[in-house]
Amino acid sequence: MTTATLPTRRDEAWRYADMDGVARLGVAALDQWQLIDVAAGDSVTRCMVVGSDAPELHRFRVTLGEGARAAFFVTNRGANYTRVEIEVRLAKGAHFEFGGVTIGGGSATREFVTQVVHAEPEATSNQTIRAVHWNTGIGNFLGEIKVARHAQKTDAAQDFKGLLLEAGASANAVPQLEIFADDVKCAHGATVGALDEGARFYMMARGLDPAAAQRLLVQAFIGDAFVSLDDEAEREALLDTALSALEGAQL
């Protein structure tokens, strides 16, 4: 299968994309899907740091067998358009876990796009996305959840929080739910705010300089995305690369 043409912003999943970045990626890049099949009862965890000076696109198609589990933890710190897409299909009793952080200034767009298909009953999914931006940086999360007609007892959650360190930055969340079963739990939340000035002053009053106070508050904010990652070394690595992107950010 080839994608004959580039997508446009009229395509729902590309609504907030950086179209110049998409054009530079080209049609060929759009056909690059990484396929991950997790057999019944098996478990897969992927930890990734993505983003560089050039546009990047990372596309995953994940198929989870009965009772299988896939977990993705991603720090997206691109200095240019950086998009991570994950399509997941869950069989009975499978679980999909996603923790994602977009962080950065400049004018780049970083985004996560997920499509989680609960195709059979009793599968669960949990997605936690945190976006921290400054200058005119942009963070997006487009999260589509589809629950098939017979996929009863589905439990799907997605939680997005954006933290904007400057007025010019932005964070967008587009939850999209298509639910055809009736006995389903589907929770989604999205908030965008600024740094807690009260907490920042409290920290400074105890001696932390403005950069250290900001770093600690951002660490606490993005930490949510990686709490369900058990491997401490991996978790530290994802957090540290995210926080190192903060150096030079607006205070």
């Binding site: 907490a199 920290m203 105890r206 001696g207």
Partner: protein, 251 residues
């Protein structure tokens, strides 16, 4: 140690800043514990916040000299490193950050600013344990997130543990006694004495009640009303206030 001269300050920005401190003069030498009492809304917390450098408060006149330096020229974290500690009337909750991490970073930032070596993790924990024990606070509380889920009294006790760890030269304690039960009041009072009663230290103790002063025994007591110090005396002034109330004492 602290000399406040004809201090004027406003609160609330925008087009309509409200004058709160209206020519406040006060001298607190080393070795002294100086209690400040005064009616609600008189400007006691405002004084504390102005001394700490909280954003939103503007000094419109006067000066504050602290240990030979112009205090008002320093940023909040520099004031802390210079030896100033603010005990908050309403301590701030910081979700996602543990007391241990917060205080260790705070202490080491202060030490760095003073050209001292940082404490190692082990050294810090030993110090923290010692100070928690002094305030009879369970070490488990220190592992929890800063003030999150703490009761009103626990927050005040935690403030004093922080003070013990940071070991300031000068503490401004804003209603540290409010919210404390009878036993906690004695423990906190004794903690203040043990941490701050020294010839080279001093305290500004803001309170509404005699009961803390029974334990801490101030050298001087001043009444702050309508943004000024209107009367200064010895410990007997607090007893008179307790017996007669502000109206009759200030009449």
């Amino acid at each position: 140690m602290l000399t406040i001269t004809d201090l004027h300050a406003t609160v609330g920005g925008g087009d309509n800043p409200k004058p709160i401190l209206k020519g406040l003069t006060l001298h607190v030498p080393a070795g002294e514990i100086h209690a400040i009492m005064g009616p609600n809304g008189a400007g006691k917390s405002t004084l504390s916040n102005v001394l700490g450098g909280k954003p939103g408060y503007e000094v419109t006149g006067g000066s504050v000299e602290f240990r030979g330096q112009d205090l008002l020229a320093l940023d909040p974290h520099e004031r802390a490193a210079a030896g100033l500690f603010l005990g908050f009337q309403y301590p701030v909750e910081i979700p996602g950050v543990s007391n241990v991490q917060f205080l260790r970073e705070a202490l080491n930032s202060q030490r760095k600013a003073r050209g001292e070596e940082p404490l190692s993790g082990g050294e810090f924990l030993k110090l923290a344990k010692e100070k928690a024990a002094l305030l009879k606070m369970d070490m488990d509380m220190l592992k929890r997130q800063v003030n999150v889920g703490f009761s009103g009294g626990e927050k005040k006790r935690a403030e004093m543990v922080q003070m013990g760890i940071l070991d300031p030269a000068f503490a401004v304690l804003d209603e540290t006694d409010s919210g404390l039960d009878i036993d906690a009041l004695r423990i906190v009072g004794a903690g203040i004495n043990s941490i701050m009663r020294a010839p080279d230290k001093a305290v500004l103790l803001i309170t509404h009640y005699q009961r803390l002063l029974d334990v801490v025994k101030p050298d001087k007591v001043s009444i702050l009303a309508d943004g000024r110090i209107v009367e200064t005396g010895g410990p007997e002034l607090a007893l008179r206030l307790e017996a007669e109330g502000y109206d009759s004492v200030m009449a």
